[in-house]
Homo-oligomer: 358 residues x 2
Amino acid sequence: MAKDKKRHDRKDAEAARSDVAPQPARVHTVKEIAAIAKVSVATVSRALQRPEIVSPETRERIQEVVKRFGYTPNAMARNLRTARTRLIVALLPDITNPFFSEVIRGIEQVAYENGYSVLLGETQSNLVREQAYADMVAARQADGIITMFHRVPAIPMGGRLPLVNACEYVKDSGISSVYVDNVAAAATAIDYLVGLGHRDIAFLAGPSSSPICEDREAGYHLALKRAGIPLDAALTVVGDFSIEAGERAVESLLAQGKSFSALFCSSDEMAMGAMRALTSRGLRIPDDVSVIGFDDIRFSRYTSPPLTTMAQPKNALGREAMTMMIELLADPEEPPRKRVLAAELVVRGSTAPPKALR
Amino acid sequence: MAKDKKRHDRKDAEAARSDVAPQPARVHTVKEIAAIAKVSVATVSRALQRPEIVSPETRERIQEVVKRFGYTPNAMARNLRTARTRLIVALLPDITNPFFSEVIRGIEQVAYENGYSVLLGETQSNLVREQAYADMVAARQADGIITMFHRVPAIPMGGRLPLVNACEYVKDSGISSVYVDNVAAAATAIDYLVGLGHRDIAFLAGPSSSPICEDREAGYHLALKRAGIPLDAALTVVGDFSIEAGERAVESLLAQGKSFSALFCSSDEMAMGAMRALTSRGLRIPDDVSVIGFDDIRFSRYTSPPLTTMAQPKNALGREAMTMMIELLADPEEPPRKRVLAAELVVRGSTAPPKALR
DNA sequence: CGGTTTTATGTAATCCATTACATTGCGTTG
DNA sequence: CAACGCAATGTAATGGATTACATAAAACCG
């Protein structure tokens, strides 16, 4: 029982002679196009890559044929030869999080300006998936990776690996990163609340595995200290960045009977959850409790009341990340850089002086 | 003046003899691995592709070498040879829209189960970008495309093109699609409002270029007719799906002095904008105006009041889309199919009987 | 006008993995 | 024990484009 495999045959190589080919048949190769345009494959390739170096007549003839047959060079073959794909993979834990949307916009803008394409991968914070995407770089399916979480996938590519960290960073990692000054940002938020007259300020922290969350917590501590307010550890509750976490955190604070007149949340989503939990307990915002978020996502403007928040320069974060990536690809010897941007307080309706002072 | 170009040399082919190679050097090829493991390239390839057909000893030896040197086959070369990438590009107009997030989850689940990877492209409804991504398929950089908008990019690949439309569809297009029964869904929403006692029901329509929006409008008309309510064309306002559009639409309705006790919005985001516009005019929801949305995005549960909406089976839409794609790739002769799912009414706090009846 | 550039194009090597087909050696079977 | 089948491995063709190098033709120059 031989002859079982019915793989692609290959005796059809010569079928490309008909200059008049009426039907725009299947899919084409340089070879065929070359034959039809009566030039060599090299000339076809040149006409497409660097049109200026082929004579005008030839160039036009080739372009006409290319167009007529809808020829698109096989990117696999090209990439194999040139060892570059002009493709960047951007990895984010959760596309559902509106914070990332604008960062990605920034990434794409710069990518586009430089002839790169961006493809997005959602990892759901799953190590296996992170690695799977990272392997695409190792397999030369993409030129580089921009990650938006605080883990560094292993890319076995001896030496420099084309990786940039956006929004987060990894301590002591020698990886280029862009992020905001989270210590300063958190401190600014707290300063603002203190300025309004608050002294009992609760803090909904993000996952403690993330350096930026530690930084925010450090900023919180710093600002309290500066204001001479003693730290009450019970006023800090840890959660992930989700709405649900915000909801749960507030419930747990209230269940413990902690009293606080302001709440600083590590993300806008947490703030949304917190607001929901507070109002469902009959507390009014900002009358009874002021709430301040972090990120300034699109929806924050539309909560009721609209959310006061620390706005991250999302677009700039993305742009800068991609810029770094391009530099890194241009010169792999380039030493890793960290770029720290500033967050900005956006005051909306969810904050006010505490009741006692009014 | 020869010797000027300093391109990659290739005299180093033999440099791979040292079985004891201490430093996990650069990047490797089958050839090198084969040399080190003292087998042919074919055997290395086989050991990786179909381990069961090489003898256990050889297999283990090869695997050991592969591991030791961190060898990852070059995907470009492989894909070139095998003419498949196991990569699907999913295109969405706007990652910012939380509706798509869950659809994508569904897509990725099925992809993963079938050994495919998904990469996302955001087109911002820009024709050029849509086409750029579509070209990746033409260039054989991806096996297929799932689009989540109502336009069909041209993929010059003579004959069947590996394209599936999710959430939207294109009329008479012979393209496989999955979407909800928008006529029925809209009618259900209106029926519900009518059932509550509403008669003056305004409608925030989506972009009229989109067939699904026409369908929703048709459902609105149908249900009104069924209820014996005459259509007041001035109660329909067109917008895109955005929050801002919802806000503007309501403002324009109110500016025209139209009175209505209920509002059916073509997306939850529009509903959020509408609610904002209504409350800022001093109207209470649902006391003065009932609002119902469409999609059931994550945030709808957290608006105040929580939003009543027509929930799309987002995950199922994604799963089904990817399933179709896989079938299509397996058998390109497969005729295009349309699969229509049902949306489901989710009642929350933004709807109530009209004031008059209470 | 011979010689040197420059310009346009062609030939063939190359990128790296997969796999059809060939080869070798061994166990079965009549 | 010859003949055959199967298992394990090797050799080399293949996929499609890019590009170094070679060549031919035209342009330039003193």
